[in-house]
Amino acid sequence: MIFAKVIGTVVSTQKDPKLTGKKLLLCKEVDHSGKPLESYHVAVDAVQAGEDDFVLLTYGSAARMTDLTKDAPIDAVIMAVIDDVNVQESA
C-alpha cells in the first residue's frame, strides 16, 4: 500500500463495462507526512473518498480484492481514508 492524496476526478463515459458506476480518482503519491512525491495514479474509489483526502492506495492484482473491484480490469484501488499517521522516525 502507498500513501496518496486525491487531487481530482477522471471523467470517462466510454470505459470497460466492469468499470461502469465506479469513480476514477486522480491521485498523487505522497509520503507518510503528506509530502508530495513524483508519481500520479488513477485509482478506483472503494470508500467514497473525496478531493484532498489523504488515502491508502493498493496496487497490482491485490487491487481487485475488494467487493467493488472484483474481476474489474484495474490495478489500483483506494481502500482507506486516512485520519492520522503517527510515525516515530527514530524507532
Binding site: 492524496k5 487531487i7 481530482g8 476526478t9 477522471v10 471523467v11 470517462s12 463515459t13 466510454q14 470505459k15 470497460d16 466492469k18 468499470l19 476514477l24 486522480l26 498523487k28 507526512s33 503528506g34 509530502k35 508530495p36 500520479y40 495514479h41 488513477v42 485509482a43 478531493e51 496496487y59 497490482g60 492484482s61 487491487a63 481487485r64 474481476d71 480490469p73 484495474i74 490495478d75 489500483a76
Partner: protein, 98 residues
Amino acid sequence: MFLAIIKKTVTATEKHPAYRNRHVFVVQPVLPDGKEKGDEWVAMDCVGAGIGDLVVCGGAPGVARELFSLELAPIRTLIVAIVDHIDYRDIVTEKNES
C-alpha cells in the same frame, strides 16, 4: 492505473492466440496536464479507443485472463477507459502538516 495518449497502432500478422482480433496500440504515459512522461508502452484496447485518445491504462497479472475468459493470456497492459476530461488541482508545494 496511469494516464496515457494513444500514439500509434501496432499491426501484426503472426500473433499469440490471445492477441487474435484485438487491437494493440503504442501509448505514451502523460501527466494530468498532458505532458509526456516516461517510456512508451504497448497496450491492448478493450473499450474501442483510437489514435489521439487520452486513456486510462492498467492491468495486473491475471486481469486479462479473467476479462477475456482465456486460459492463457500473456497480456499485461490494457486500455480500460477513454477520458472525457479530468477535474483536478495539483499539489506541488510542501504542506506543513502536524
